[in-house]
């Protein structure tokens, strides 16, 4: 059975305490990943670019509605994900509009975290 662990945190909060700074340090993350790999549980992991770069797609009456920002209605839960390698945002949005659940809920499209962002 595979599990997707989604990490939620307040982006706007700074790193105030030493513990918080420790939690942000790359070494802490690498250590955990090594531990998971050694245990044979790690399939794939990655961070996401900040929500400021998120775009949401909904399909209503056959039309794709594209809006800036993350999906914010809290009464819907994350039901799965696709990780795609696309040329640009328009290609990713096109695929997002093809996902059947876009007609019921919405698809948040977020680029993966990258070092230059």
């Amino acid at each position: 059975m595979k599990y997707m662990l989604l990490m939620y945190a307040d982006e706007s909060k700074g790193l105030q305490t030493p513990e918080e700074q420790q939690a942000h340090a790359p070494e802490t993350w690498y250590a955990l990943m090594d531990e998971m790999k050694a245990a044979g549980v790690l399939v794939s992991n990655n961070g996401l670019s900040p929500v400021a770069n998120a775009t949401t797609v909904r399909v209503r009456e056959g039309k794709a509605l594209i809006t800036d920002g993350p999906f914010a209605e809290t009464h819907e839960q994350l039901g799965g994900f696709f990780l795609l390698d696309c040329k640009d945002l328009d290609e990713a949005l096109r695929w997002a509009a093809k996902i059947p659940s876009a007609m019921l809920g919405s698809i948040e499209v977020r680029p993966l975290w990258s070092p230059d962002a």
Binding site: S49, A52, N53, A54, T55, K63, I66, T67, D68, G69, C86, K87, D88, L89, D90, A92, L93, V109, P111, S114, P115, D116, A117
Partner: protein
């Protein structure tokens, strides 16, 4: 014209074209904007001494390219790797910039990028004015009554998203073009309406916004000559703008279409608007902007309000309601029917919209006007009162108050 004024004028005229070409060559929105900003600083120094060059656009592009290469060389290796190209691949700047024709016109790509639906609408508007209009950040901030840091942040965030989320720099492919063009036209019309609203804002800034929207509309018609709706929008804006002088009295009070001094309408703008609308209609691809421009043209063509062809206007609102059904269109359609056929029939139709239009002040103002015309004074006074409560625009509220006062005075 002083050197500084001439530099400013040149800068505004050339900004969009130079920036669009620069983004095309550098492949990076932020870098291109920063480099163009550097080039402008250079231009201020040089042009004040030597005068504005023969081809200011080419001059700016050449210098901006050099500044971009300097900037890339000073970047840390990690940041440099993140750029889509290496500095060696940037076309070498020419020592003696040639004719302006040497700059490829890539403004259409820039327009579509700035108006990409993945950006918030307010960011689309701000970015379009900043990059294509060449308005400074403080100018854009003033136009939308927000503080300069807020506007700077809005623009920075939009640029960052274009880069980080991979918003493409291109004219959308055929299957995406219609909806993306709709979004682009909507942004231009929004800029126009922001300027046209008779609000308490700085009148000069507002006129500039209308002028900017019309200029953008012209550029779009030039770049997309086959788009009937681009022409429709340009015609609509010109026809509305032709009444600018007549819309406010000497005291700054709002004057409605019916009561405007038609000799103060700008006949050049009316003629141009109608000619452009004719070109649009000849393309045989009808759309809501063309219909609205046609309605506006019917008002513009007659010398007195009494000879307005309301029957034709009511028919055009029927068409518009089919194309873009909305409560606002229905309110206007009801008024046109009242004026064209029968006041009672129009009023009945209008009152049937109450549930949807309850919080829309022009609805209550329209009800009040029709009630007044049908001698239902008390009901009319109530409707004016409701409109006044809902209206947040001081100039329009003052107008409604005057209507209310006139009505209640005559009752006494």
């Amino acid at each position: 014209m002083s050197a500084t004024t001439q530099i400013e004028k040149t800068y505004r005229e050339e900004h969009g074209r130079v920036l669009a070409a620069l983004i095309g060559q550098l492949g990076d929105f932020e870098l291109a904007e920063d480099a163009l900003q550097d080039a402008l600083v250079n231009a201020l120094e040089h042009w004040q001494m030597d005068g504005v060059p023969r081809n200011p656009g080419a001059w700016l592009l050449t210098v901006a390219k050099r500044r971009a290469i300097d900037r890339i060389r000073h970047l840390a290796p990690l940041e440099r790797n993140a750029l889509p190209l290496d500095p060696e691949s940037i076309p070498a700047p020419q020592e003696e910039p040639e004719m302006d024709d040497s700059i490829p016109d890539e403004r259409l790509k820039l327009m579509f990028t700035c108006c990409h639906p993945a950006l918030a609408l307010e960011a689309q508007v701000a970015l379009t004015l900043r990059t294509l209009g060449g308005l400074s950040t403080p100018e854009v901030a003033r136009a939308f009554l927000v503080s300069e840091p807020t506007m700077a942040q809005r623009l920075a965030r939009a640029r960052k998203k274009i880069h980080d989320a991979g918003i493409p720099y291109r004219v959308p492919p055929v299957d995406l073009l219609p909806e993306r063009l709709d979004a682009l036209l909507a942004v231009i019309y929004l800029i126009f309406n922001e300027g046209y609203a008779a609000s308490s804002g700085d009148i000069l800034t507002r006129q500039e916004l209308c002028g900017e929207a019309i200029r953008l509309g012209r550029v779009l018609v030039h770049l997309l000559p086959q788009s009937a709706e681009a022409r429709g929008l340009l015609a609509l804006m010109l026809l509305h703008d032709s009444r600018r002088e007549a819309r406010l009295s000497a005291k700054g009070e709002l004057v409605l279409l019916e009561e405007q001094d038609r000799t103060r309408w700008d006949s050049h703008k009316i003629q141009e608007g109608i000619a452009i609308l004719d070109e649009a209609i000849a393309l045989r691809d009808p759309g809501p902007y063309q219909v609205q421009a046609a309605i506006s043209a019917l008002h513009a063509e007659v010398p007195a309000a009494a000879s307005t062809d309301w029957r034709q206007i009511a028919m055009l609102y029927d068409t518009l309601a089919q194309m873009t059904p909305s409560m606002v269109v229905e309110v206007n359609r009801a008024v046109a029917i009242a004026m064209a056929r029968d006041l009672q029939e129009g009023l009945k139709l209008l009152l049937s919209l109450e549930d949807q239009a309850e919080n829309f002040y022009p609805y209550h103002a329209a009800c009040a006007d029709l009630l007044r015309r049908t001698n239902q004074r008390e009901a009319a006074a109530d409707a004016y009162q409701r409109a006044i409560e809902l209206c947040s625009n001081p100039t329009e509220r003052a107008y409604l108050q005057r209507c209310f006062d006139t009505l209640t005075d005559s009752v006494k």
